[in-house]
Each structure stands twice: as structure tokens, then as C-alpha cells.
Symmetry: C2
Subunit: 260 residues, 2 copies
């Protein structure tokens, strides 16, 4: 536990940094400073939080209780190597970066990874978002648990090794899924059909895996081994990349159900 209401600095001003810092502020945390390389992003987020901002690494305040690094993965090592020494708890929010990235710079650190997709224009209810935490010690573990519990009902311990696989699973079930929605949307557009005709199907597909395993929930030509439809549908696709995606996923479905 922190002795009193801790001060937080936010390093980064992207979608996750924005949504997370607003959720923390709403729970009464004091966000003191926002750092971003771009003035616009830094100022926009700082204004929302009633915080200061800076775009200069050497001007990052060194007396905050918690620093949340929420940056593109490739930016984190560079920032860490340039930042002044910090005594506060250092956290990053990345699925793919191990906890020990902080090891050369601090003895007080952890990971705070909210498993969700964040877009600028969309409000997010943090209370249902799983917060995956990992800490360098027991004290930090408790602090991270409390911080997580203040915004979410679900806080769980996930090791660096598990987290990178969790992130991979998230890429398949969110980023790649959304791209398939995009492919479907383009197919419909060419036929002058509205995308929203697919929404009940998209919703039911997501809802089904709340009560069935994806294995049980599978439907469609590939699981029925209906090569006639598969070949007809392949012929409807002009784009070679799309043809390959269609073929590979159909083959993968086919193999999954042949094996079991």
C-alpha cells in the first residue's frame, strides 16, 4: 500500500495512456505531469487531467510516486536510457516487453497491462478490463494490485513469459479479427450492401464463445468440409492476398476438425 494518495506521472499520450490516466484521475488519483515528444498530444492529455506537461525528457519531474510508461514498445528503451534517476514506482503497460527492462535503472518497478483495445474516440469501461500485473517485489505487488483494483474488478498475476503469449492471443482475437471485419466490409461495399447487416452475426459470433468453446462454436463451409463452396468462394476473390488468407484459414479449420 502507498502511505497516502500517490502522485502519478504519465509518460506517453497515446490511446492507452489517455484512457488509463483518465480512469485513474476519476478514481481520485492525482496526475501531476504528462510527457510526450509532441506538444499537441502532451497538452491535450494534460488539459484533460488538469496536469502539467513537458516534451523534454530532462524536465520530467523526479519526485512522483508512480511513473506509468505507456509508449510504443520501441520508444521505451530509449526514454529509459535518457531519463533522470527516479525513486518512484516505474510501470509499463506493454504486452510484449519483459519486466526486467527496468532492472538497470531502478529497484522499484512493475508491469500494469490492461488487456483491451483502445481507440481515441471511444469511451472504455475499465471496470471489466482484466489488468495483468507483475512486480519486482512483494511491496510493489501489493501496490500494483491496489492500483488495479481501484479501476477494475479483475486484476491477475501474469508473468513476463505468459504476458507475451497473452499479447499474441490478443493480436489474433482482436487486431486480426478486426481486420477480417474490414475485409468483409470491403466485400459488401463492392456489392452496395451496408456493413451493418453483418452486426448481428458479428455480435453472436462474439457472444457464442461466452458459453461454448471456439471449437464447439465453429460453423461454416470449412468445418463442414464443403469443398464446393470453398472453391466457389475462392473464385469470388480477386485479390491474391485475400485468396491466400481464405485458403490458409480454411485449411487450418479443416485440420483442426480432422484431428479431433
Amino acid at each position: 500500500m502507498f502511505s497516502s494518495n500517490p502522485n502519478i506521472s504519465i509518460i506517453g499520450a497515446g490511446n492507452l495512456a489517455t484512457h488509463l490516466s483518465i480512469a485513474l484521475k476519476e478514481k481520485g488519483y492525482s496526475i501531476r505531469q504528462v510527457f510526450s515528444r509532441t506538444t499537441d498530444s502532451a497538452k491535450t492529455l494534460a488539459d484533460k487531467l488538469g496536469a502539467d506537461y513537458t516534451t523534454v525528457i530532462s524536465e520530467i519531474r523526479t519526485d512522483s510516486d508512480i511513473y506509468i510508461f505507456s509508449l510504443k514498445d520501441s520508444a521505451l528503451p530509449e526514454i529509459l536510457s535518457q531519463i533522470p534517476p527516479l525513486k518512484g514506482l516505474l510501470l509499463h503497460t506493454s504486452g510484449s516487453i519483459p519486466i526486467d527492462i527496468f532492472d538497470p535503472y531502478s529497484t522499484n518497478y512493475g508491469v500494469f497491462y490492461p488487456l483491451q483495445t483502445f481507440s481515441k474516440t471511444r469511451n472504455v469501461d475499465f471496470s471489466s478490463i482484466p489488468i495483468c500485473i507483475e512486480a519486482c517485489g512483494e511491496k510493489q505487488q501489493e501496490q500494483l494490485f491496489d492500483l488495479g483494483k481501484s479501476i477494475s474488478r479483475k486484476v491477475l498475476d501474469v508473468s513476463s513469459d505468459q504476458r507475451k503469449y497473452l499479447h499474441l492471443a490478443a493480436v489474433f482475437s482482436c487486431n486480426f479479427v478486426n481486420h477480417l471485419y474490414g475485409i468483409a466490409s470491403e466485400i459488401l461495399q463492392q456489392q452496395h450492401l451496408p456493413f451493418d447487416i453483418l452486426l448481428p452475426l458479428i455480435d453472436e459470433t462474439a457472444a457464442k464463445v461466452h458459453s461454448l468453446t471456439p471449437f464447439e462454436a465453429q460453423t461454416g463451409p470449412a468445418v463442414r468440409f464443403d469443398e464446393n463452396i470453398i472453391n466457389k468462394q475462392l473464385n469470388l476473390l480477386n485479390d491474391e492476398n485475400l485468396k491466400k488468407i481464405y485458403e490458409l484459414i480454411s485449411k487450418s479449420i479443416f485440420n483442426t476438425y480432422k484431428q479431433k
Copy 2:
């Protein structure tokens, strides 16, 4: 409009046949007979509907007002070629079969395609399912519209050509999406992480495309052109087919955002 409450025969006893015929019965339609090649399936569905059943094509009643053919696509041509002449309205429920499959056998026919995924153990609320209809004439068009409206708020005209593309879009946004959920589930299982940790992410990914286009909603390493994470994640995958799926979809996301 039908002159009185029409009688319906159901040809097929799979998931769609089951859910659709139950929905129609609940709206007061009288389902007289179920045909399926397998006695178990025919009897199970007939019992639910309070209907007769048969497994013999020549015993299909010839005096029903509507026949709904809800079969595996490859089975429909064969059944049609063997069935006794029927005066009633012949309908199929397939995304990929054109309306004119009925042409050699009847002058009274149409297509009734509910755009949804159906699993045996899962209840479905038909009222929100888009029903895509196509008819051989104006009278049949009205009959199909009324039949559709009796179970769903959304009935729309979709031509045979549009419908095959709609079915293709449904395969991408439902069947393939569910397979990606399955891949994610296997990745988590190997890390002893529960699948339900992904459900808020899966739900939000589906919910986002109600208010953003899939193009606007895209997040993740590929849209950020983060090759570092992409390469790390590729190295986590042992299965060659999964590696290829990951590479192709990432490349496809990459190309989508490079172009625009």
C-alpha cells in the same frame, strides 16, 4: 399474402432448420412434416415441432403451402431431382445457392436466407437477424416478406449475386473470426491462462464496429508498423500454418494502412 395460415414442411434437420422451424412455430405457423435422411435428426426435430417426419423422399407430403429446404448445399440438387412435383412455395436458406436452382422443378419459389450462425445448443433471437429474401415473382416476394417479418424486424431484398458475396463476407466475419478465437484459445491453454480473460477484448472488438468503421477501429502492432513486435510474435509460433496466417494478415493490415 397467403390466404390462410400456411402449412410448412421442413426439408432438413440441421442447426438452421431446427432454429428456424421452432421460431416459425412460435409465431403460430403449423409445421406439418420434417424430412431428414437420418431418423434420429428427423424424429428429434419433429418431436419439438409436434410434426410428422419421414426419411423417405417419396413420402414427403405434396400438399404443403411452403417447403423450406435447409440442407448442406451439396445435398439440395439431389433432393430436388428426386422429390415428387410440389405446388407449394419452395424456399431454400442457403447463402451460396442461386434462386434459379428451383427453375426446372417449379414456378413458385424463392430464397429465405437468415444471416446468422446457428449452433445446436444455443438459443437464437430471430427478431434481430437480417432475413435476406429473393423471389421468382411479385406474389412470392410479398409472401416471403410477410414470412420474414413474422419472425424478424429486418427483412431485405438481396439478389443471388449479392447473396453469394454476403455469404463470403459472413465467412470472413464469423467463421474465420471464430477460428481466430480458437487459435487464441490454444495459445492461452499452453500458458495455463483461462480463455475468459480474452472475453472483454473480444466483446469490445465486436462492439467497436457498431460505432467506428473497421478501418477506424484497427489497433495493434501491424497498423503501427511495429516490425519488432511482429518478428518477436512470429518467433513464438511453432506451427508453420499459424506463422503463415500471422504473416499474411499482418501484411494485409500493413497494406491497407499504407494505401490510404
